[in-house]
């Protein structure tokens, strides 16, 4: 059994002909339009603006969104989503999908909770790759503790006056809108609302966060709101119900991240095995040394377990029986798997893995952003314990 990216994927009986057709076309698109440039874009800290319309044309940006707003949702299921995350992670430069697909966290609040006027105005240009939307939750004063956020939106007639700041915002430099968590009420979760803030509003400013461990291609930003006036009809969902809007967003984000992390682990396996079969030390291939063989087997073991767990969670989503605790722990399972595989692949690659310019080297640097972003491992375990009623 080959241990390359495709060979190391367990069979999935839910995937049929049209799923594989999508994988084939998406891979062609990525291999031609992204892969050859991934390293340069990552080093440059930016992806070109024309990648968004190209990704829209192939159907990538609209996957899973309603046709009425320019998406493709008919007959689309979790397996299309899984394939998409896998193929994007295969690039091995996480900043590219993080930035390219950031509407995946910014847009659902609008589509699930926004007014029809808001959906019509925002979704079509975003799904066409012409405009961009980001999600603004984390603040300089705290991230995981969403209920304690400090950015305020004070009602003044027909507008809110927004003051505060958001940081580590993926896609923040390019965003035309930010789905922003603000405090409209009292302390705690019940005082939080979601507000759609246009970035051309007076009093809005932003600075890039360029010196990151990984995800260099992503336009991560800190956002500042200085008496920004936003009409009250730009609330996403009811006032003071923002906490639930945010929470409902997390499951799909965590599934996407878990799927991406497992695929990144498989990239590490693929690269490590290819090198171990080629490189000779002490008169035999690396792959013939027991210590290396065990590393490879252990990587595959963890990858297998993560794949099976991902499939189980997607199956539960398909049948409407998903448990947020299981999904939270899946994210931990996936980040621990990619952490392990990135480490072991680096050990097998040796000096060549330490040099910049390989997928494994980048993935090694992007373990932490995956283990922390979208809910840290610690928060995930705590959430699961609460879900299980411990």
């Amino acid at each position: 059994m080959p241990l390359d990216f495709d060979g190391a994927r367990l069979p999935n009986p839910h995937c049929g002909e049209e799923h594989e057709a999508w994988r084939t076309q998406l891979r062609r698109f990525i291999d031609n339009e992204i892969m050859p440039f991934a390293e340069d874009w990552d080093e440059a800290g930016e992806i070109p603006a024309d990648l968004w319309p190209k990704a829209a044309a192939v159907g990538l940006l609209g996957l899973g969104y309603p046709e009425a707003y320019g998406g493709t949702s008919e007959s689309i299921d979790s397996w299309h989503a899984w394939i998409t995350q896998e193929e994007l992670a295969r690039i091995g430069a996480g900043g590219i999908p993080a930035s390219l697909m950031v509407h995946g966290i910014g847009l659902p609040p609008v589509l699930n909770w926004g007014s029809e006027e808001m959906k019509q105005r925002v979704a079509p240009p975003v799904l066409a790759g012409e405009k961009h939307i980001a999600l603004g939750i984390t603040e300089p004063g705290g991230g995981s503790d969403v209920a304690s956020l400090a950015t305020t939106a004070v009602r003044d007639g027909d507008t809110f006056i927004v003051n505060g700041s958001k940081t580590y915002i993926t896609g923040g430099m390019r965003a035309n809108w930010v789905s922003t968590a603000v405090r409209t009420g009292g302390e705690g979760a019940k005082g939080v609302s979601m507000l759609l803030i246009p970035t051309d509003a007076e009093g809005f400013s932003r600075t890039p966060l360029t010196r990151k461990q990984g995800w260099w291609a992503s336009d991560t930003a800190t956002l500042y709101f200085d008496n920004v006036r936003v009409p009250v009809d730009q609330l996403i969902g009811p006032e003071n119900q923002g906490f639930w809007v945010i929470m409902t967003n997390f499951n799909s984000e965590r599934m996407a991240m878990a799927a991406g992390m497992e695929a990144m682990a498989r990239v590490c396996l693929e690269e490590a095995v290819a090198w171990a079969r080629e490189r000779r030390t002490f008169g035999k291939r690396l792959a013939d040394h027991q210590v290396i063989r065990h590393k490879i087997a252990q990587m595959k073991q963890k990858i297998n377990a993560t794949q099976a767990y991902i499939r189980l969670c997607y199956e539960s989503i398909e049948t409407g029986t998903a448990n947020p605790g299981d999904i939270a722990l899946l994210k931990v399972q996936a980040s621990e798997t990619v952490e392990f595989c990135a480490r072991e692949a680096m050990q097998i690659l040796g000096g060549i893995g330490f040099m910049r310019g390989s997928r494994v080297e980048r993935i090694y640097r992007e373990v932490r952003v995956n283990a922390i972003g979208g809910g840290s491992e610690e928060i995930m375990r705590d959430l699961a314990a609460r879900q299980y009623g411990v």
Binding site: V58, G59, S75, I76
Partner: protein, 250 residues
Amino acid sequence: MKVLVAVKRVVDYNVKVRAKGDGSDVDLNNVKMAINPFCEIAVEEAVRLKEAGVATEVIAVSVGEKPCQEQIRTALALGADRGIHVEAEGRIEPLVIAKLLKGVVEKEQPQLVILGKQSIDGDNNQTGQMLGALTNMPQGTFASEIKVEGEKLNVVREVDGGLQTISLSLPAIVTTDLRLNEPRYASLPNIMKAKKKQLDVYSPADLGVEVTSHITLVRVEPPAERQAGIKVEDVAQLVDKLKNEAKVIS
């Protein structure tokens, strides 16, 4: 103008092809299959003719076992309007495929038939030419550019030493070379729509063709593996090896 495009299911060009252990054939077990790249170029050209308002309908046809419907669906996702699957078992040789395609041509009466110049598995480069002979249609092979002008089709052909432009009377047959176009990506919405497009299945008997075989596949073996190199002791040994072993100097 109706355009018929032939597509073939082959081993994906990214796959490293392996021979079976007993040398009886190529090992197709668990191997990713895809539309033959030259056929994909043929589909793209037909779809462009339709988008330019020259063609009115594009029909994709494939000959083979049931799974080749996947490649017809790929053609439909790329923009073909409907598909025809001629279901035939086993290894079908070019002459039989050409006869089956002739049957489809007689049923559909296309003004233009576009085929890949060859498939990347058999590398026969025969089917288009045989179809030309069987149907008495003029052929423009190895096309790098085609243009319909009234009842004529101008074809720029890639020939040894340059390009040759010929003018054919329609209906005609074209086989594609690599530089005719760059096929597009089938978009997700088009992949989903392709599922609903019409796909008719014929048997060889429906087309009045008996599947016969004139060729016996004797043996398939991988290219010889390159031997490991050696370090020569001195120039004299190098010259000796180049003369007597490699025989590249005398």
